[in-house]
């Protein structure tokens, strides 16, 4: 026993690890691309009752992969582990309604945005908040900063002492902590479904997410007492649209996907998927 045994164990283990990783070896040749999605972020991606992941991003991913001639494999990953998972090599691309922000650009690269919907608030119709904020109205922070400031003040006034629900680590959570920190109680959830359940049961007074997600939630039969209220923000902390997240070291893959996206925009495929899943055209 002793060091000789130990050495052979270490060598054996590394060999085994390298062999086990052989399929992933073609990192630069890109035969297969593994894409990470939540499978719980309707309508961007969701898991149906047979266990398959479907949604806007699934359609788009399959389309883009075909264009650049690779095989797409989609795996499920909780949202709060997305970027760590990407960096750990669990998958090669993140497609999960992830907004392109400066903060995130420090850690990972993004493709061009493939959607740019506004954010939206959802609350019970006829509640104090709904009355204070009024119906949904788009506010573009980059084009009209003054309107944005006014809208933010309106939100702060309406939410004083109330509870807002957001998903962890999202631009919506950033909005809440930036503007509502000492004004409202902020509850953060792992998934949007859990937050919607709490909105329905009255634990939170208002929810904030992007427009397609809110619209899909409102489409459900038990959501007839809820509606979109207040400003629908574009820009500011919400970023410049949703894009694919990739590792900085895979710039070649990013470039290939960007080319594919250009083609997909040009022939109207992206718009088609957007209308199918979001009912509106979110092409940037």
């Amino acid at each position: 026993m002793g060091s000789k045994f130990l050495k052979s164990v270490v060598v054996g283990a590394s060999l085994a690890a390298a062999l086990a990783a052989a399929p992933a070896a073609f990192a630069k040749d890109w035969k297969t691309v593994v894409i990470g999605m939540e499978g719980a972020y309707e309508p961007w991606n969701l898991t149906d009752s047979s266990g398959h992941i479907v949604g806007f991003e699934v359609d788009l991913a399959n389309d883009l992969c075909k264009r650049i001639n690779v095989e797409c494999k989609i795996i499920a990953q909780d949202w709060d582990g997305m970027i760590p998972g990407l960096k750990a090599g669990k998958f090669d691309v993140i497609m999960d309604g992830m907004s392109i922000t400066e903060e995130r650009k420090k850690e990972i690269d993004f493709s061009k945005p493939y959607a740019a919907p506004p954010a939206a608030f959802m609350a019970a119709k006829g509640s104090d908040i709904a009355k204070a904020l009024g119906p949904g109205k788009v506010v573009n922070a980059t084009k009209d900063p003054a309107a944005k400031d006014a809208a933010v003040k309106a939100v702060q006034a309406a939410l004083k002492g109330k509870t807002i629900g957001v998903q962890v680590s999202t631009t919506h959570a950033n909005f809440a902590s930036k503007y509502l920190k000492d004004i409202a109680t902020i509850k953060e959830y792992k998934t949007t479904d859990e937050r919607d359940l709490d909105l329905k049961s009255g634990r939170i007074d208002i929810a904030l997410d992007d427009y397609p997600t809110i619209a899909a939630a409102l489409d459900k039969p038990d959501a007839k007492d809820f509606g979109i209220v207040g400003p629908e923000f574009i820009g500011d902390v919400f970023g410049v649209g949703e894009g694919m997240g990739l590792r900085k070291s895979d710039a070649d893959l990013t470039a290939r996907f960007n080319k594919a996206l250009d083609a997909a925009f040009a022939d109207g495929s992206v718009k088609r998927y957007s209308l199918k899943w979001f009912k509106i055209d979110t092409t940037p």
């Binding site: 709060d80 760590p84 960096k87 962890v168 953060e188 792992k190 709490d198 329905k200 049961s201």
Partner: protein, 230 residues
């Protein structure tokens, strides 16, 4: 080594320890009370009561705490009957739900510990006490409880430590305990391991302290088992 970052992270985690301990203590106490009731049913002479107690233990020891937690927090809140009941002010609050769920779960385990401790009381002692005329509360207080306590302490200590570890699950129902603060720091700063390592260290120290406290208690209660000094 960014000591500033490490220090700041550590302080943020320490700030969450009181909540973790609050959840732990409240659920342990609730669990003890419920377990006492379940044990009483278990050792009673009534067949139906025994069956209920055994079913309780089977359910709460045979299913994951995570799913019990989700039933209490999300499941109950989705029932209109619950939302209109007088329990709603409690069940609405995440902390109360956490304490309720953890308490019910530990009660299942504590009931088994109590039962094992009671079985370990030598029947001869109980007989002798009865022969002296002791009965009921006095018998329990003077004879049964002290002996059972000594027998049950090691297993109880293990359960207490399990409960501290179980509090990490409340991070999944919007409570800001040590675990969720660590995860938030990880998500915000994208430093993957440091927050988890520091959180782990904190949990380890807390568990070690609890284990040591119980060991000291065991030693105090067992003077006849201590090593002779002379």
């Amino acid at each position: 080594m960014d000591w500033g970052f490490i220090g700041a992270t550590f302080l943020r985690l320490i700030a969450a320890v009181p909540l973790t301990l609050e959840v732990w203590l409240s659920s342990v106490i609730l669990g003890a009370v419920v377990a006492a009731g379940v044990t009483w049913m278990r050792v009673s002479d009534s067949r139906p009561l025994k069956a209920v107690a055994r079913a309780y233990v089977a359910v709460f020891r045979g299913t994951p705490l995570l799913i019990q937690l989700f039933i209490v927090y999300y499941g109950l809140a989705s029932l209109p009957a619950v939302r209109h009941s007088l329990f709603w002010p409690f069940l609405r609050d995440a902390f109360d739900c956490a304490v309720l769920s953890l308490g019910l779960c530990t009660a299942g385990y504590q009931a088994e510990i109590f039962r094992g401790a009671l079985i370990a009381v030598p029947h001869g002692q109980v007989e002798a006490a009865r022969a002296c005329g002791m009965s009921g509360l006095l018998l329990f207080r003077r004879i049964i409880f002290p002996i059972a306590l000594r027998h049950g302490l090691p297993a109880y200590s293990t359960e207490m430590i399990s409960m501290v570890k179980a509090t990490a699950l409340v991070s999944l129902i919007t409570l800001w305990d040590v675990m969720s603060v660590a995860l938030k720091i990880r998500n915000d700063t994208l430093v993957t391991y440091l927050p988890l390592v520091l959180a782990g260290a904190i949990y380890f120290v807390v568990n070690y302290a609890i284990g040591a406290a119980f060991l000291a208690l065991e030693r105090r209660l067992s003077p006849h088992l201590r090593a002779r000094t002379s």
